[in-house]
Symmetry: C2
Subunit: 340 residues, 2 copies
DNA sequence: CTGAAAGCGCTTACAG
DNA sequence: CTGAAAGCGCTTACAG
């Protein structure tokens, strides 16, 4: 019922092989034949059946994106849509499609990935997170199936990955605050099982150490604490005799919560507490006060990841197996010294 | 090189047909045979080649999602990730995959959709927006290819669609503000070419009219104005002799901008101006003050759209061709009367 | 420059 | 309950 290559061949008075060659822009087809076949394709409204094409060419022109299963953190909303746009942009440019997959558990994720890989559903896969001893990564490695991780797997530094230098990012923010004269600087983030979180904590700690400052453990508190009861967390923080005057906050969303609680308790930002966030939420510039943040280039992460994956799929030379997307400090009012 | 159905058949001592039947859980295969074949599949690590399966079964078990091309508005970030999650959840449950597509122009979008439909790449498509005289919708209709629109096409009320009742939503918000005693109520939103925007404006206008209030045109201003220079827009608004005491705002992100400018100019919310937003941004409850909003159930929009599309693909009975996802007012501090 | 033939890995009437 | 055969719509050596 649908127009096939055979219909076109008949009508154009050539063989199916020839039509196929015209479609693929193959060599050595006469201009006359090419023109005739193209005209017939147009006339009949022919479009190649991608399934058939994929089956015989053993390639799908599709890459898979595995979504992290607990995507219920608001931060991930933004990350997800930006990174997807980056991936899609790069993939589309190269003629590739993007298939989305998710799983509710590690088991389901593994099944999904197995289906994609073994079922020849996609040519490569992008991962948005890695867990300790990640079975998905282990499987992909063992099958030698092309994949790229956005982030970092401390146990397998040699896999293809695209990431920020999160240690350096937090280091930069902390140094920035130190240079503004702050000595007692706190850190809000976590959980530390997440690589990104522990990396940022490490950068924070390192900058302080370089200045000979040993952070008081009471200056450091977890994201879950803030989410549960931000006001209680802030009150506990501010009641300390030696309370911090600045906070490095792992994500702007967290920073917004803290801002709300500080204001509720009558403290002013940046007067009583300077705040510097991460991930440059679109709301950060328009919040009250505007929140200082680190732009981590989420779109770029996606773009680069897709680029790297495509190289891997096509067996092209890969210069760096680990691509670092640069970050950028965006100081705004929430961390400005009073005078400026 | 990869294990095929033939390898399994040989090893199990049966025909390929039988293996195929075991895989599809077909009728009339003896328990003994089934067991034997399954054991061999397990042993050989067999996984069906999806391309081959799709080719012969003329079905892809995949649905396509077309992303709106100008997805650079921050609001869409949230909408996109939530709606995708809803779609993915429903699709995965039914054993379907999700393919993402985008185009930089209407022309590119049409080409993308043509490839998907004619190329038998997907079984159905979900659209996230419609334009006046939308060529993509016209094409899909003409090809009788299954699709669902999230939103509303005023020119084609009979297509499958999932949407909120945006007129009613804005009506409800405006009534809520009227009941709190406000008489001069403004509206911030637009552009009015977007159906969702004009629908909300219509609901706003209707509620006022019912109370015998004719809105002053100076109370109504566009989103672009706010994005360009929120403070100027707010100043102009507040300098009016008969300035509004409450604002219906088309999106929470817009509300955040307004909040910032109001605060900057020394006005208090809700004291000097009550604000009621839309789309319940995750930040709304934690902003200062917490922003009243309308939860439009984005996840549900995605879930229902996928459900509707799957019914259409399977030619199942469809009771309502237009599904309305209920909205919910979430009054917070930004619209509370001073005393409460 | 072009065609005939085999094959990609599966499903599905048709027989038995 | 099971098998042989044809076919899904394309590509790609192999010949000429």
């Amino acid at each position: 019922m649908n127009v096939t290559i055979i219909d076109v061949a008949k009508k154009a008075g050539v063989s199916p092989s020839t039509v196929s060659r015209v479609i693929s822009g193959s060599t050595r087809i006469s201009a006359a034949t090419t023109e005739k076949v193209k005209a017939v394709m147009e006339e009949l409204g022919y479009h190649p059946n991608l399934m058939a094409k994929n089956l015989v060419s053993r390639t799908t022109m599709t890459i898979g994106l595995l979504l992290p299963r607990n995507a219920d953190e608001a931060f991930l909303d933004l990350f997800f849509s930006e990174v997807t746009r980056g991936i899609l942009s790069q993939a589309t440019r190269a003629g590739y499609d993007l298939l989305l997959k998710t799983g509710k558990s590690e088991q389901e994720e593994l099944e999904a990935v197995t289906r994609l890989a073994k079922g020849r559903r996609v040519d490569g896969i992008i991962l948005l997170q890695s867990r300790r001893d990640d079975t998905v990564i282990r499987y992909l490695l063992q099958e030698k199936f092309p994949f790229v991780l956005i982030g970092r797997d401390p146990e397998r530094p040699d896999i293809l990955s695209v990431d920020n230098d999160n240690v350096q990012g937090a280091y930069d923010v902390t140094r920035h605050l130190l240079e503004l004269g702050h000595r007692r600087i706190g850190y809000a983030g976590g959980p530390l099982e997440l690589v990104v979180s522990s990396d940022r904590y490490e950068g924070y700690r390192r900058a302080l150490a370089e200045s000979g400052i040993e952070p008081d453990p009471r200056w450091v508190f977890g994201a879950d604490l803030i989410r549960q009861d931000s006001t209680a967390a802030v009150r506990a923080l501010m009641e300390q005799p030696e309370r911090p005057t600045a906070l490095v906050v792992m994500d702007d969303l967290l920073a917004f919560s803290l801002l709300g609680s500080l204001s509720e308790l009558g403290w002013s930002v940046p007067g009583d507490m300077a705040v510097f966030g991460f991930n440059d939420n679109p709301m950060s510039p328009v919040s009250t006060p505007p929140v200082s943040s680190v732009d981590i280039g989420v779109y770029q992460l996606g773009l680069q990841a897709a680029g790297l994956l495509l190289k891997s799929i096509k067996n092209e030379e890969i210069a760096e197996r680990r691509v670092i997307v640069p970050h950028r400090l965006l100081p705004r009012e929430s961390s400005q010294p009073p005078g400026s």
